[in-house]
């Protein structure tokens, strides 16, 4: 077990280093970094001064070392748009995104398990077919469009929900509903597949012959044994929800990281972009590490395998 943890931790550190170098390369390969950091109308004099001040006139590997040192101290420079340290700007926006993501994933997992388990329990029934249609739809609809249509219907025409912001419970309805769609669709299918396998096992026949209630067979006996792939996929989806957050936060003006990222891109705020990418990357790698641990704890075969 210790070896497994150490191996995973080593992979995690390797991945973080990879992301740091990637961000560095992206910021340098495109020519002058001044072009990325400064506003587009900056004069030549300002650019030269900027380059000298930040050491961009030095050799590349010296720059990489400086960059690594700055990254280790959490120093990405000041935000162009907000005038504060970039890392500080990013970290103040993270709670809003995390809350949205956690609420959405909790709802999506619950819905996915309910829909998928019901479909698996009665294979080829109407419930099964409906669940497949729901999954297919959830995987095929662009999430930002659902959000916009939600605004059009509930905010513009019916006027029952607010269009954007995050001031109260009503502001949560549309963003969460939009964000929940895709993970629910994927999870319902995963739950169905692994539940079908679990329900075909011998211990289920035993439980049935003992007269255990159908509900208890599905949600206690089978679900527990089908849990491993479900948790694995839920973990991957949790990391992927950043994708959804980018567009959903933009559509609903949610004050989170996704919104910040898009604003930073349009405002050419490269310090913030760097900080967002690194913080998000590191958060996702830590999340994956946690999933690996949970996975091996649930399934001893994995840590004994290698």
């Amino acid at each position: 077990m210790t070896r497994f943890v150490l191996q995973r931790a080593r992979h995690g550190v390797f991945s973080i280093l990879g992301i740091v170098v990637l961000v560095f390369l992206l910021s340098r390969l495109t020519g002058s970094p001044a072009r990325l950091y400064l506003p587009e109308d900056a004069s030549d004099q300002v650019v030269a001064q900027f380059n000298a001040q930040h050491g961009f006139d030095k050799p590349v590997f010296v720059q990489l070392l400086t960059f690594l040192r700055g990254t280790l101290r959490g120093d990405f420079g000041d935000s162009l748009l907000y005038g504060q340290p970039a890392l500080h700007v990013v970290l103040t926006r993270y709670p809003a995104t995390l809350m949205l993501a956690v609420v959405a994933m909790l709802i999506a997992t619950t819905l996915g398990v309910l829909i998928g388990a019901r479909a698996a329990a009665r294979k080829e029934s109407l419930a099964d077919k409906v669940s497949r249609v729901i999954s297919l739809g959830a995987l095929s609809i662009p999430d930002f469009w659902v959000g916009i249509m939600g605004i059009a219907l509930f905010a513009v025409y019916l006027g029952v929900l607010p269009t954007s912001g995050s001031a109260g419970p009503a502001y949560w309805v549309l963003p969460v509903a939009t964000l929940v769609l895709r993970p629910t669709g994927i999870l319902a299918q995963v739950v169905r597949t692994s539940m079908v396998d679990a329900l075909a096992a011998d211990y289920i026949r035993v439980a049935k012959s003992k007269g255990v209630a159908q509900h208890s067979i599905v949600f206690k006996h089978a679900l527990r044994n089908a849990a491993i792939p479900i948790i694995a996929v839920a973990g991957v989806l949790m990391a992927g929800i950043v994708n959804g957050a980018l567009v959903v936060e933009t559509v609903f003006g949610w004050p989170g990281v996704g919104n910040l990222m898009v604003t930073a891109i349009h405002g050419r705020d490269f310090a913030v972009i760097q900080a967002v990418v690194l913080v998000t990357g590191i958060a996702i790698i830590i999340l994956n590490f946690g999933i690996d641990l949970a996975y091996s704890w649930l399934n001893p075969q994995i840590r004994l395998g290698k």
Binding site: H11, L26, L136, P142, F144, I148, A239, N243, V277
Partner: protein, 305 residues
């Protein structure tokens, strides 16, 4: 110690080898066979064919109408025959025929998606096949990179690259391809690992074929079915990613338009013109549903058992 193992596996699978090759030749026959019993699949195929025809010939017939502004016809409501056939789906803020704009956007959207999937399929599966065949340290490094890419949100990666490189048609296609390449690498590698030890590969090696020749003539034809199946499945995802990037303003730039870009436009006119945001979204959804259903049909056709 290795030799007998290879021979046993190879010998046991010679029969499968023959049938795999036969099956590959009769792909269209099998596809027709699967489709014959699948109403939903037939419908999906018809929808795809109609969309492709519309995207190819629509812009040729109505391309001019898509850019012809007529401020007198701003926000003409759809399904009103008074303004002529071109305005059957209404008009946008500049009075341009929305049907024409949808058709032109369809062409751009499909071209981007097709090229992105083709690039990702070719490069990704080639990398996967080669590292799977070579194995060893190269394989380990490439798979670590693939792991990092899998963990990293594809849209975020696309956003950073587009930011540094600048938006445009070619960067967009490359970004969409790179973001999903890891999946093809993984599938092609796994398939190659299974094929590598089979008798006909050993035979080719014994006859003196080099690694490049073996990969191209022995392995690629066998794993092609799985890769094609994956590519159809990925197609819908690429369309969705493209529309999200265009919506965020990082896709193709004006005057080029895609469905995602049209939705972004329509977002500003939700009160006055609901159809500007609604119709392109419906187009995306319809295409994605049809492609996803078709991907399922292709998967069932290529399944070896």
């Amino acid at each position: 110690m290795q030799e007998p193992v290879i021979t046993t596996i190879g010998a046991a699978e010679t029969a499968t080898d023959g049938s795999t090759l036969m099956r590959r030749d009769r792909f269209s026959v099998r596809l027709r066979h699967v489709l014959r019993r699948d109403r939903l699949g037939q419908l999906a195929l018809v929808i795809i064919v109609v969309i492709v025809i519309a995207a190819v010939f629509g812009p040729l017939m109505m391309g001019d109408a898509a850019t012809q502004a007529d401020l007198g016809k701003r926000f003409v409501a759809p399904f009103n025959p008074d303004h002529g056939a071109a305005y059957i789906l209404g008009s946008d803020a500049l009075g341009r025929s929305f049907l024409a704009r949808l058709l032109v956007a369809a062409r751009t959207t499909l071209i981007i998606a097709v090229l992105a999937v083709v690039v990702a399929t070719l490069i990704g599966s080639l990398i996967g096949t080669v590292v799977g065949y070579i194995g060893g340290r190269v394989d380990a490094y490439v798979m670590r990179i693939a792991d990092v890419m899998q963990a990293f949100p594809s849209l975020l990666l696309a956003l950073i690259i587009l930011y540094t490189v600048g938006p445009g048609l070619a960067p967009l296609i490359i970004v969409l391809a790179v973001a999903r390449m890891e999946v093809y690498v993984r599938v092609a590698r796994a398939e190659t690992l299974a094929v590598r030890e089979r008798l006909f590969v050993t035979a080719a090696r014994a006859l003196g074929a080099g690694p490049i020749r073996i990969v191209l003539t022995q392995i690629v034809p066998v794993i092609a079915a799985s890769v094609v199946s994956l590519a159809t499945l990925e197609f819908a995802l690429v369309i969705l990613s493209e529309s999200a990037l265009s919506f965020l303003g990082l896709g193709v730039q004006q005057p080029d338009i895609t469905w995602g870009g049209l939705i972004a436009e329509g977002r500003n006119y939700l009160r006055d013109a609901w159809w500007v945001a609604l119709l392109p979204g419906l187009a995306i959804t319809l295409t994605a549903v049809a492609v996803n259903v078709m991907a399922d049909v292709v998967r069932r056709t290529t399944q070896t058992d």
